[in-house]
């Protein structure tokens, strides 16, 4: 039976939080964790979570046989990438370095240890760990009902630098407002975020709920 939402399991574990949060916002939807390319192909919506290290993540994705299914989903139907599920969409990550899926032009880079002070001279730490306000760079159905500058939960040391600026749907000022980085992108039926909506309390649940009802 066709899944309403397929959560792609490429063998890096811990998809439970994403599954829990999606089931919480859409208790009647058919939402499953799957490692079957056919499920991903058939599903109405696809979520690609990710954490851990990029070299392991891409190796696991390539070995899983799900690489092509993920790329196809990213180009064809409502797709939500989370954390490494965002980063993997670009050409290459500095972590490793690791070639990624190349769905979009751009790179993934590490926070520069030499630049980790804000305008007030306060030292900022890596990983970027905790709740930062997200500036909604442009309106998007997935931001519906979420106030601009609402805080979301982040836990990462690398961030994406897209080449195409019209992809950018969200920005966050870390380590400092002078150089905000891209924390959300959107194009056509794809949306992807660096933060963790499944761990971002009410605002995160709203974003997931928006995704599940998105008529992209």
């Amino acid at each position: 039976m066709t899944l309403d939402v397929a959560i792609v399991d490429y063998g890096m574990g811990n998809l439970r939080s994403v599954h829990n949060a999606l089931r919480f916002v859409a208790p009647d939807a058919r939402i499953e964790i799957t490692s079957d390319a056919q499920d991903v192909h058939d599903a109405r919506r696809v979520v690609v979570p990710g954490q851990a290290a990029m070299p392991d993540t891409m190796a696991a994705l390539n070995a899983s046989g799900l690489r092509e299914a993920v790329i196809a989903a990213a180009n064809s139907k409502p797709f939500l990438g989370i954390c490494l599920g965002l980063q993997m969409l670009f050409d290459v990550s500095e972590e490793g370095p690791t070639p990624c899926l190349g769905v979009y032009r751009g790179t993934v880079v590490r926070f520069d240890p030499a630049k980790m002070t804000d305008a007030q001279g306060q030292r900022q730490k890596v990983p970027h760990m905790g709740w930062s306000p997200v500036r909604q760079a442009r309106a998007h159905p997935l931001w519906a009902g979420i106030a601009d500058h609402t805080r979301f939960y982040f836990a990462h040391s690398y961030y994406p630098v897209p080449r195409e600026m019209d992809l950018v749907t969200g920005l966050v000022a870390y380590p400092d407002a002078r150089e905000p980085f891209t924390c959300a992108i959107g194009r056509a039926t794809l949306f992807a975020v660096q933060f963790h909506p499944e761990k971002s309390s009410t605002a995160g649940l709203r974003l997931l709920s928006n995704f599940v009802s998105w008529n992209a």
Partner: protein, 256 residues
């Protein structure tokens, strides 16, 4: 608006239940972890820490089930520690629904565990807990077993080492202050926070909301952890955040 300083309530867990007690004595059941965690979440906790204080093999299954139950209803980060001895323990906790796992004694005995766990699950998932006692002016030693066993390790040197091994965060507890309610050891907190590029969670000694403020402003902590002031409902997390905000600290507002 910069990154918010976090408030992390900590729950002691035995056999899958929340317990209260002082120094492992007179433990009594203090409720259903799901209900307590939900309440903290609603009050605006930025994260919740769970410490399995028995950490016995017999009750491990109950801990996993408890984490799974909480993760079904509480959608903020969950950190779990106590009895983490191997990468398999880290995996089991993450699979149960923990977002971060804290490693203490086993990382001292076998630092490779920290490296392996961070390489496998990412720095953001690995917290190293350091229990320190002051041994002289500006000197602190790492202790284990609730402060009873000295390790010979200098706390600041060990903190630097675990950062090098790949830990994403330090949970720093002053064993001199733990349970004393006289405030964090601010000199210790400041020394470790300044020495590291990864975030530091201050722990041990919170008795008032002012102590939380001091931990951030004087100690330089990125997050503050407290147990009893929230357990016994002396203060709500909302009150704690409001006090921190009055002191000029960036917090995640959850009351408006």
């Amino acid at each position: 608006m910069p990154l918010a300083k976090r408030i992390i309530p900590c729950l002691d867990i035995a056999a899958g239940r929340v317990v209260k007690g002082v120094n492992f004595l007179n433990l009594r059941d203090a409720g259903d972890p799901v209900e307590v965690a939900k309440r903290y979440g609603e009050q605006g906790a930025d994260e919740i820490a769970f410490l399995d204080i028995t950490a016995s093999v017999e009750t491990r299954g109950l801990l996993y089930q408890m984490i799974a139950d909480v993760a079904e209803q509480v959608f903020i980060p969950l950190t779990v520690g106590g009895g983490v001895r191997a990468v398999d323990d880290v995996r089991a906790l993450l699979n149960a629904g923990a977002d971060k796992v804290s490693i203490n004694t086993a990382g001292i005995k076998n630092p490779q565990l920290i490296r392996d766990a961070a390489a496998r699950y990412g720095a953001q998932a690995i917290v190293v807990a350091i229990d320190a006692k002051q041994t002289g002016p500006g000197r602190w030693e790492v202790f284990t077993h609730g402060g009873r066993h000295p390790t010979g390790l200098d706390a600041i040197a060990w903190a630097r080492e675990v950062e090098r091994l790949g830990a994403g965060e330090i949970l720093l507890t002053s064993m001199d202050r733990d349970g004393a309610k006289t405030g964090f050891d601010l000199a210790l907190t400041r020394a470790v926070a300044d020495a590291l590029t990864i975030p530091v969670i201050a722990s041990g000694g919170v008795g008032t909301l002012e102590h939380l403020v001091d931990g951030v402003l004087e100690g330089g902590a990125d997050a503050v952890l407290a147990a009893s002031i929230f357990h016994y409902s002396e203060f709500t997390i909302t009150e704690a955040k409001q006090r921190m905000q009055q002191a000029g600290i960036e917090v995640r507002e959850s009351w408006s």
